[in-house]
């Protein structure tokens, strides 16, 4: 019996190791190509063990470090502010929905959920943000449009509260004379750390990886976040494809970063997440709870 179990263990481990290798291999290729000499790359192709190493791409990034550091700063700031406010808003929507005695809770939940199915499209949203709420060319433009990046997070959080916070706890606190806000912030949130941490990671991730708001609302290059910068460089090829004329093509060509530099920027963009993620990971599994829209 024990042997059989060990046999199963090794099979399970082997399968998992193969899967993790599949996940890691492209990253290895990414990192190695950012370290390959440019001409070697063009001539001899991508390889895990390049014939000629070069740190020129990173040297180039370092030479342009003010731009990149500013962009990093913007990204960090936006991610922090956005995550905290988005999280707060999500929690404050989720908690009332989790309360069984709230009148109209299912309708309100549907009000939240409905936004996932329909949206007005880019142009109306753009008009809203530039003409009525003037966020263009400010850091707010990177923060506000993504506050409720995924309405389903509210539902996920509501389900978590439902399953993990016993009604009795809330009831007891209320009998002690605590108000709803106090109950939420001193009892419910501390009891829901795994969920809060998970949400923080998910919301934070969407802020970190967001480039669309930058694309639409930011023109001032000093407000570029790291992803906007990256996207700007990578999208030049697309501009070429969509048919610019010769003068523009020549200029794009002259400014276009080499493959190595693109890869290096990608590495630089993804590295911090890979460093931070393991710290959140222990909460991740405990925090996720999937449930229906109705409660």
């Amino acid at each position: 019996m024990v042997e059989q179990k060990n046999g199963f263990q090794s099979v399970a481990n082997i399968v998992m190791i193969l899967l993790t290798l599949c996940c890691l291999f492209p990253f290895a290729l990414l990192v190695m190509s950012s370290l390959t000499d440019e001409n070697t790359l063009i001539r001899e192709g991508y390889s895990l063990l390049p014939a000629k190493f070069s740190v020129e791409s990173y040297a180039y990034l370092f030479r342009n470090s003010t731009k990149i550091l500013t962009a990093y700063g913007i990204t960090v700031l936006v991610t922090l502010v956005g995550t905290v406010s988005g999280l707060l808003m999500t929690i404050m929507m989720a908690y009332p929905l989790s309360r069984h005695d709230l009148i109209g809770r299912n309708q309100l939940a549907f009000f939240v959920f409905f936004t996932m199915l329909f949206n007005g499209g880019l142009v109306p949203t753009y008009i809203m943000y530039t003409r009525y709420i003037n966020v263009k060319n400010s850091l707010w433009a990177l923060i506000i449009p993504s506050l409720m990046v995924n309405a389903f997070y509210v539902i996920m959080m509501r389900t978590y509260f439902n399953t993990n916070i016993p009604d009795a706890v809330v009831e007891a606190a209320r009998i002690d004379g605590a108000g709803e806000f106090r109950i939420l912030f001193t009892i419910v949130i501390p009891m829901s750390l795994p969920m809060v941490a998970t949400m923080a990671l998910l919301i934070g991730l969407s802020y970190w990886n967001d480039w669309k708001n930058g694309l639409y609302y930011i023109q001032d290059k000093t407000l570029y976040s790291i992803q906007v910068l990256l996207n700007d460089m990578l999208r030049d090829v697309q501009a070429l494809r969509s048919g610019v004329d010769s003068a523009a093509a020549a200029e794009i060509a002259a400014n276009m970063p080499s493959v190595g530099i693109k890869m290096a920027i990608a590495v630089v963009g993804v590295l911090p997440i890979m460093v931070i993620y393991p710290f959140f990971q222990k909460y991740f599994v405990k925090g996720i709870t999937i449930g229906a829209v109705k409660g």
Partner: protein, 323 residues
Amino acid sequence: MTKNTAVQPAANNRPNKQKVSAMRLKRCFPLYLMFLPGALYLLINNYIPMAGLIIAFKRVNWNKGILGSDWAGLNNFTYLFKTKDAWNITRNTLLYNLAFIVIGTVLAITVAILLNEIRSTGAKKTYQTIILLPYLISIVVVSYLVFALLSSETGFVNHTILKSMGKEGISWYTEPKYWPAILIIVHTWKTFGYNTILYYATIVGIDRGYYEAAVIDGANRWQQVWHVTLPSLLPTIITLTLMSIGKIFYSDFGLFYQVPMDSGPLYDVTNTIDTYVYRGLVRLNDVGMSSAAGFYQSVVGFVLVLLANWTVKKVSGDENALF
């Protein structure tokens, strides 16, 4: 379920109904207050811009304003249905999404169960961390990774693998037959880690008592999975699938446009509603027609979700339905 328990006492006790409601309403007030900022935000960020959907039915002239522009009836929609391509892009969008849903779900559940079986906590943590990595990077970077693998000149597959096997390189970006597989692999590679964690979280939450009871009944590991784990996962599966169905007419633009490098010979298998609309309209700059496409995608998704939800209610009861 809970709604019923809440309403019943009031119904039984008619004279008190109003008083109870008033009291409840008063008690609910701080909760509404709490809900308000988010609700206002959704109103401004999501609901009011939905007014813009009206553009789909207009021949927009910005000088006259959206409302003042002439009505176009359904003219903005016809291009989505009229041509031979219409069938092709609809089929591609639907089939890819179905494949993603089925393959993604099966793989994620399998891996989640495997992960749960592994005893070494260290190994478990490491696997969890690594399989989520692809989820963290942007699709643009993914498209460069795929190119590094498949480029006919410099790609890893042609240059290193096939060459060392003494085989001819394949011109990947001009051979449509490989791409359904490639796109499914890339999408699955990118998302299975996240989905695995979603299912794994549910599995971890299953009461150990069920397994113990199953063991006492003489269930082997496979039977435990079949009779305990999978039924416990059902609500999660249904919820996630229903949500995917809501998006079934959408496609990840990056996956279908950037990953195949917009290569013409691949269009038969890579053109989806989103890429078709983009390619056709980027030069036309017609807001009405692109709004029409968005409207069409939302409505079909919405109707399908309602239908699927209704089916779930009929088949497996109210408690598994999404709403």
